[in-house]
């Protein structure tokens, strides 16, 4: 989907900042969202992701910069005249209206008002879409959280908005239901073809559902890209830490070649590194952090079974073992790397029996597993 970046952008932020008094909730955000894309704003609370969403909806006006919707500058256009709809975190269903009236609300505001037959047909169609047929006359507060969520979705989708905004829509649901709704939302987005912009603090949610993820920190965009790119090529330590788990080994740069550099980890191990953070210019003597994903570190009892191109091979003591179902996470300690975590898939444990606490094993990884990032 994101491949079609040539498609015209539906939402554009150009140098947008938002100040609440002295506090900058959003600083200099520039961003283009393609029509039909599923984009997530991901970050901890207070990072400005909700403010960004609310500026698209029209609940906040930018202090600086411009917001464009489908080519139109909307800075001064009030929320009720913007062709977007929002699914609120609390759903914000009208408690004094039944499901039908909630869902039809947007259509009833149109002038001229569509005929009752047309509205009935539209309501039936979206309720069908969210699998809530037959619930028309229900009171919303009689329904379960998942059902309320669907009503909120139907209420927004019936208007066929140019962009659907979702503000942590799944936060109130329990884990299993959340997983189901994630898949459902994704399917729904493919079917209706509407641009979805989701705000979440749940990285798993953002990575699994979106075409692109926009990671934010303290009002700024720190990286934006496809989920796999963010995971495999984080631009900074912050992103590497926020998206998935990572080991961080502080080190010093040695000899620098054209596309690689020798890095010596503080604990002793030295290895060639050929992956770097964004716009990094390394010079001899620089301090860096090496990020290595736990699943990239292989553990074995026999050192010779490690791949030939493993640039790091260290004897490590197993400190702790956490069984995670399909994986086992080990916390290890070694002279060359210090303390680090490694993730072993269950399958490899069928070859070698699980390692015991206190056991000495050999840990190794390839050069590609390590990425040098700025040492904040």
């Amino acid at each position: 989907m994101a491949e079609d970046a040539a498609r015209k952008p539906i939402v554009v932020f150009r140098g947008v900042s938002k100040f609440f008094g002295e506090v900058a909730a959003a600083s200099d955000i520039s961003l283009e969202v393609a029509a039909g894309e599923f984009l997530s704003f991901l970050g901890p609370s207070g990072c400005g992701k909700t403010t960004a969403l609310r500026m698209i909806a029209g609940f906040e006006q930018p202090s600086e910069g411009d917001v464009f919707l489908d080519g139109v500058r909307v800075n001064d256009i009030p929320a009720y005249r913007r062709p977007v709809n929002m699914v609120f975190q609390s759903y914000a269903l009208f408690p004094h209206l039944n499901v039908w009236r909630n869902v039809a609300y947007g259509l009833l505001q149109r002038s001229p008002r569509p005929s009752r037959a047309d509205i009935d047909r539209s309501v039936a169609r979206v309720l069908d879409l969210v699998q809530l047929n037959g619930f028309e006359t229900r009171r919303t507060w009689e329904m379960s959280g998942g059902q309320q969520q669907r009503v909120a979705l139907a209420r927004a989708l019936i208007n066929e908005p140019k962009v659907l905004l979702l503000d942590e829509p799944l936060a109130a649901l329990d884990r299993k239901l959340r997983r189901e709704m994630q898949i459902e939302l994704q399917n729904l987005q493919r079917r209706v073809g509407i641009t979805f912009i989701l705000v979440t603090h749940d990285q798993e949610e953002a990575l699994s559902m979106s075409d692109r993820v926009c990671i934010m920190r303290q009002g700024r965009i720190v990286q934006i890209g496809k989920p796999t790119d963010l995971y495999d090529r984080p631009a900074s330590r912050y992103v590497a830490d926020f998206v998935g788990k990572s080991n961080f080994f502080p080190g010093t740069v040695g000899e620098v070649a054209a596309d690689s550099a020798q890095v010596t980890v503080a604990s002793g191990v030295s290895l060639p590194v050929n992956r770097f953070g964004e716009n990094m210019q390394l010079a001899k003597g620089d301090s860096v952090v090496l990020a290595v994903r736990p699943e990239q570190i292989l553990l074995t009892r026999s050192a010779e079974s490690l791949p030939q191109d493993s640039v790091v091979r260290v004897e490590s003591r197993v400190l702790n073992r956490i069984f995670l179902g399909e994986h086992t996470e080990y916390l290890l300690s070694s002279e060359g790397l210090g303390e680090f975590a490694a993730l072993a898939p269950r399958q490899s444990e069928l070859v070698e029996s699980p390692f015991e606490t206190g056991e000495i094993v050999t840990a190794g990884f390839r050069a590609e597993a390590a990425q040098a990032l700025a040492a904040d």
């Binding site: 909806a57 029209g58 609120f88 975190q89 914000a92 009208f94 408690p95 609300y105 505001q109 009689e142």
Partner: protein, 276 residues
Amino acid sequence: MRWYAAAIYVFLYLPIALIVIFSFNAGKYAMDWQGFSVEWYFKAFANPFALKALRTSLVVGLWTAVLATSLGTLAALGLERMSGWPRRASDGLIYIAIMVPGVVIGIATLIAFVTAFNLANPFLEGLFGDAAPRLAMGLPTVIGAHVLFNLAVVILIVRSRLAGLDRSLIEASEDLYATPLGTFRQVVLPMLAPAILASFLLSFTFSFEDFIIAFFVSGPDSTLPIYIFSSIRRGITPEVNAIGSVVLAVSLTLLIMAQFLLRDRTGSRGARGDQA
């Protein structure tokens, strides 16, 4: 301890109970039980003076309720948009208005009305000559004074409901293309309706049963409480008890209705199924 509590309740409610009991007395004198009868209720409702006073009280109560509720609701909506020290100042003034004793409001409004009338009447005479309307105490002055003290009650009730109103409901309505007026009509007003209705019932009740303020500012037409007070001078009859019991029944019913309306029901969105 339990006896102590019981004694307090007896102390609180025995006088009221006595009025109700003796309103059913067949005898001529209030405290001389002659057997059960409802004849005094018929007598009271056939008494033209009592009926006239009742009518006056109903008119005053209804006008007070209408004016205090509409003005108070508007004021509450306006206050909601204020912030900082003007907000705190007006909040404080509202609470003070509720705590001011009735007798003070009575004297204050009496003096205010008399002063205003004394200024306005010569002016009106100069303007219209002999045909000039003469401003004097009457139903409008009672209504005015009643609106004054009920306004604060209405503002407090409506504002507390307004404060509990989920902001995101208003945003959701705007998000679904409703204009500010449309949002007010379709979301804010329906959500406030119970509080507004309760305010209406309460201000009607407070006006209907008020004696002190009406005593100061009423003109030739007496309200029901004033009528009761003046007829007591001719001795407490079971008829007075009957009228008092009716006032009690009306007030109590309206207060219970208002209380019922102010219970928070749909406010708890999470608690689903509790009414299913």
